[in-house]
């Protein structure tokens, strides 16, 4: 049994489960911060909340994912604000998602009894519903358990003035055009304590209670009855289960793949079809370090994987919406691509620093992303591959989009000779990154193929073919190390980069070629440490270090599969799937020494890479 528990941000429980990064003897929170590995995500297709194992919701941005936070204890345990809910006595914790859903169920076990908390962001429904709604249902399982709850709303990344008052019997917090109503049923009445709303609830076996946050933005609050809220919980559960039940993958890692698909669905911005890279900003790649970035944007870099995965899982509607959004968003900068776009399609993503403490003092806390203005040549390859996959999936490319694609191929012919920042967005001087050149080749190769099939204008096809050959010459003569028998990070270097694996995954050359076998071996030899694969060796213009990039491990598994080494791929995947947290989620990186998660969470690319590797292995083993 564990620490005394107080709802909110105090350390209060130890993790008694199989979770290797949270051994029972370690405190759950350090300085008020829960391990990143300890979070689960719930959401509604517009925003995402992160729930810690001790029941505290430490992250929620409203009205949409890239809006300022109302609960930001993740980035400032003291001032950020949170929604705590847990037993008043010491407890142990078990968690799961309700099968096939993004509805979280946390079971608290105390000496006096067992209680479940179901956390859900409802999806709306018939009738008048709140603009956004976060509901926590407390269900008595056995014995009798007293729980306390505490809502500490801090709008505007804890920078906006918040007023808490009672209106018509309901406690309401307001800040500018944002408002939040706390409604509770079968609990003690909510009490205002300064800027905090607190309450308690005692449940016995078979009893239940509800605490619901109705959230409004630029409109009046909507108050609901308990029956309406209960109805929305059930409808939301059914909607998620219905959606995940349609995923067509039925292979060896179905649970992990379906969970990853559900995570991706959380990151899909339902109003537009854009897919955010992650749900958070500024979770550090190194505790106390400066590598803290805002990932609540849509990266063109991820587009080919996203399209491949959506089509591979049978999510045709999502694939189509994503492609329409991508082509629409990139229209403003056509034929050039920005590295990333905002979820509403904006090309302008200025970076600024917030005055927050940072996750375990990891500063700066950034919002916005300055990488948006970099030149990353690989994005053209990924976008052309996305269009190619979209067309291969039986979808039409209309005349405007076809012209857009052809225009990008023309642009690639003009700019591929330039050095760039590469897929990893280094802030050191631009280089001739091998992966960027390979993706330029992929761009022109796909454009030629689409032109041959008369899906895009063929006027520039001859030039595209010629330039593609020049790119191949450049890569094969200047980006290959005879000493390492491997492609190298950039022309003239002897460094390695795991992103080279994308070449074989996206069809640069023959996967069975010796050069690819040598490159895969070199990556394993020089970048792999056990299960973990570092991104690269060499300079990147940033201080400090980082953990192992989980995506690279999945890329390696997929590369092994497509190059015919299926047994090695399966063995690696079996172990990688075990690296997820207790509810099947991955962050961007992992600390090889401790297994602790690092970086933004949950990370779409990690889950995309997992699904993509699982699909590739399924293809490779299909009879």
């Amino acid at each position: 049994m564990d620490d005394r528990a107080v709802p909110g941000r105090e350390p209060r429980a130890r993790i008694p489960t199989q979770d290797p990064a949270c051994a029972p003897e370690r405190p759950v929170r350090e300085g008020g911060y829960a391990p990143i590995r300890g979070y689960a995500a719930i959401g509604d297709g517009r925003t995402v909340a992160l729930v810690a194992r001790d029941g505290a919701i430490d992250w929620l941005c409203v009205p949409v994912l890239d809006s300022p936070s109302v609960f930001g204890a993740l980035l400032d345990a003291e001032r950020g604000g949170c929604f705590g809910l847990c037993p008043r006595v010491s407890f142990r914790v078990g968690r799961r998602y309700l099968p096939g859903t993004n509805v979280l169920e946390t079971t608290f076990v105390t000496d006096g009894g067992v209680v479940r908390v179901v956390d859900v962001m409802t999806l709306g429904g018939p009738g008048l519903t709140p603009f956004r709604e976060l509901v926590r249902r407390v269900e008595g399982v056995s014995g009798r358990v007293l729980l306390g709850w505490r809502v500490e709303p801090r709008f505007g990344y804890a920078g906006a003035a918040t007023r808490v008052e009672r209106r018509g019997g309901v406690v309401v917090a307001t800040s500018g055009v944002g408002a939040l109503a706390v409604q509770c049923w079968d609990t003690e009445a909510a009490v205002m304590d300064g800027g905090v709303i607190v309450g308690s609830v005692e449940v016995r076996a078979g009893e239940s209670a509800l605490v619901a946050l109705g959230i409004a933005h630029q409109e009046p609050l909507v108050f609901s009855s308990r029956e309406q809220v209960e109805g929305r919980i059930d409808a939301t559960t059914r909607a998620w289960a219905g959606w995940s039940g349609a995923c067509v993958y039925d292979g060896r890692w179905r649970d992990a793949v379906v969970r990853s698909a559900l995570v991706l669905k959380l990151l899909v911005h339902a109003p537009s079809g854009a897919v955010a890279a992650a749900a958070t900003t500024s979770l550090p790649e190194e505790i106390g370090g400066e590598r803290n970035w805002d990932y609540r944007y849509c990266w063109v870099r991820d587009s080919a994987f996203t399209m491949g995965v959506l089509l591979g899982l049978g999510c045709a509607a999502e694939a189509r919406a994503y492609f329409w959004w991508l082509m629409h968003a990139s229209q403003l900068t056509h034929p050039r691509l920005r590295v990333l776009y905002s979820l509403s399609g904006g090309a302008h993503t200025p970076e600024r620093v917030l005055r927050l403490h940072g996750y375990r003092a990891s500063r700066p806390v950034r919002v916005g992303n300055a990488a948006g203005g970099q030149l990353q040549l690989d994005t053209y390859g990924e976008l052309l591959q996305t269009a190619w996959l979209y067309a291969a999936g039986g979808n039409r490319l209309d005349r405007d989009i076809a012209r857009q694609i052809a225009g990008m191929a023309d642009l690639v012919c003009r700019i591929w000779r330039r050095p760039d920042a590469g897929i990893w967005e280094v802030r050191s001087r631009p280089e001739h990154f091998t992966q960027s050149k390979m993706m330029c080749w992929v761009a022109l190769d796909r454009a030629c193929d689409l032109a041959e099939r008369r899906l895009i204008p063929a006027g520039g096809a001859r030039r595209w073919r010629q330039e593609a050959e020049l790119i191949r010459d450049f890569v094969e003569t200047r980006c290959f190390s005879a000493a390492k028998q491997s492609y190298i990070r950039h022309a003239g270097s002897e460094e390695l980069d795991a992103s080279l694996l994308l070449g074989v995954l996206l069809g640069y050359g023959d996967p069975a070629a010796e050069r690819w076998a040598g490159t895969i071996d070199a990556v394993r030899r020089e970048l792999q440490d056990g299960l973990f694969v570092r991104r690269y060796t060499g300079e990147d213009g940033l201080g400090g270090s980082e953990g192992a990039f989980l995506t690279c491990s999945f890329w390696l598994a997929e590369a092994l599969a497509v190059s015919g080494r299926v047994d090695e791929a399966v063995a690696l995947m079996d172990r990688l799937v075990g690296l997820a947290n207790d509810v099947g989620l991955y962050a961007e990186e992992i600390d090889p020494a401790t297994g602790a998660f690092l970086g933004n969470f949950p990370q779409g690319l990690s889950h995309l890479a997992l699904i993509s590797a699982a699909l590739a292995i399924a293809d490779a083993t299909a009879p």
Binding site: D44, W240, K265, G273, A321
Partner: protein, 160 residues
């Protein structure tokens, strides 16, 4: 004032409005494409949507010209400048209520601020003043609507 003048002005104004928006599109000033938005309310085939959208846009342009004409009649005045003022009001209305608020409500493929998972919209909502389609969108849209209004007002006052 003549209703035929208003109709002629509506036609000419819609040609200019559509052309201005398309030019803004090609100059990378805005991702706004009114015919496309209108057409996709009826079909998800992008090519057909644009053709249908142009037709609908002209019909809507003529309908608005008749509304302008009714107001000109009611106040007993018309002219280029008055038409331009109407166009300014029309552009603001389009950006704040018509396209931003009303169109997403009736458009089956456009997202709204309330669209939630597992639904995915095919078209992103325009946002206030259609700013989601680019920061220059309000300027392009309002300028185009002013030109439209001026033409409707001018043609109406010229025709006897």
């Amino acid at each position: 004032m003549s209703v035929w003048g208003a109709i002629a002005g509506g036609f000419a104004g819609t040609v200019v409005l559509t052309t201005a928006l398309r030019a803004g599109n090609q100059l990378n000033l805005t991702r706004m494409d009114l015919p496309f938005l209108l057409g996709t309310a009826f079909t998800s085939d992008r090519t057909h949507a644009k053709a249908l959208g142009y037709l609908l846009h002209f019909l809507v342009g003529l309908a608005f010209a008749l509304i302008y004409y009714a107001i000109f009649l009611a106040i007993g005045r018309s002219g280029w400048w008055l038409g331009a003022v109407f166009g300014l009001a029309h552009g603001l209305f389009a950006g704040t209520a018509l396209v931003n608020t009303l169109l997403p409500l009736i458009h089956p493929r456009m997202g709204t601020r309330s669209t939630a998972a597992p639904t995915v919209a095919l078209l992103e909502p325009p946002g206030f003043l259609m700013l989601n389609y680019g920061p220059q969108t309000p300027l392009v849209s309002i300028a185009a609507h002013i030109a439209y209004g001026a033409l409707v007002g001018g043609f109406t006052s010229l025709a006897r």
